[in-house]
Amino acid sequence: MKKSTMLDLLVLVIKRDLVLAMRRRADVLTTLIFFVMVVSLFPLGVGPELDMLRKMAPGVLWVAALLASMLSLGRLFSADYLDGTLEQMMLAPQSLSMLVLGKMTAHWMVSGLPLVLMAPVLGLQFDMTVQALGVLIVGLMLGTPVLSMLGAIGAALTLGLRGGGVLLSLLVLPLCIPVLIFGTGAVEAISSGLSIASHLSLLGALLVMALVFTPWVTAQALRISME
């Protein structure tokens, strides 16, 4: 029998979580519909002037993406926690950080990636230019995984608590602020003719840092919550 590597494990966890998500498509769709609705509410709230909407668009899309990712975080570990799977995962001889990274990746593919793909359509509603839309998508591609990873820490810490959802947002939202700033900053930079390299590099740096540290921190948080 072939010895299973870390990568096999990662792929296995991602596949498993994606299958589970596809069995309950409504959950995935709710996040996406929430995102679309929040974004569509803004023009109704502030008025239909295209100049203003164009200026607001990156901020609105990013904040909506941030809120939408909070919405689905509660489910990241709770189902596995309730049916005991999480306990088995922690007993497994493989690295818990790797398992967690797999779950984070699957969470992003289910709740982050659809938002990234949906964003250009919504951006057109706000009369964004093609150039700005391109930067927005690159920024979201780099930034939404960071949101999933930071959120996973909060989800692990609040596992099984009463009022976990609201508490989770309270813990995670302040930590996500740099992502929001650099993400919207990149779009504003391209709109005013400045270089976007610094913003996107910083987003990339945040992504790399999150990739290295958050799986381990989340694993520690799970150990604290499960003992």
Binding site: I153, L157, T158, L161, R162, G163, L167, L170, L171, L173, P174, L175, I177, P178, I181, F182, G185, L202, L206, F213, V217, Q220, A221, I224, S225, E227
Partner: protein, 245 residues
Amino acid sequence: MAINWFKYAAPTTFYGLAGKLVPWFAISAAILFAIGLYIGFAVAPTDAQQGEFYRIMFIHVPASILSMFLYLVMAGYAALGLIFNTRLSAMMASAIAPTGALFAFISLWSGALWGKPMWGAWWLWDARLTSELILFFLYLGFIALHASIDDPRRADRAAALLAIVGSVNVPIIYFSVKWWNTLHQGSTIKFSGTSMHISMQHALFTMLAACWLYSIAVVLARVRSIILERERNTTWINELPEVRS
């Protein structure tokens, strides 16, 4: 003579020590507050640009400094508690959090009162104001997480992890907000010297020391209450004179 460095790491011994120290810190804080406010309001000259308004600095600056330092101290204790599994460190961390949050709030509040006459607005989305606000949120998150977990050991460890993650994030947040927008005046006191009048410096440093002593006094008093609450089922607590009476 061998000194036992860890003697006061146990709640049993620390409870008595803290009880003896609290009055000293509280009294010296009160004296320094009185001196600092006197110099600040009566001795220090009127500022050339800001008139009398600058005097709010004597509470605003110490509060801001302490709100930031206390977060680091809190995260330090939290890390100690998480790594060495000491009960007292975690209790210290949860005793510091409310004081830190209070100073963050005072800093925001006095900043708003200072901003209105100087900038003509209560609030501006300036880098330092925003990062102070985020720091306030981080404190609230710590307190809320600690409060919503019933098992105190789990609460300590979970909140400790959050505090550590937060302290790693604080510089990132600070610089991201700084590049985002900057309006707040730079600090006047630098290690290379200062342009500030000497009596203003005296007032500022006295107030800073007073705030430090106040924080220590309050944190020690609070940690005593936490010890009493957590260890209420032990014999040594029940033998304390103040508990028995």
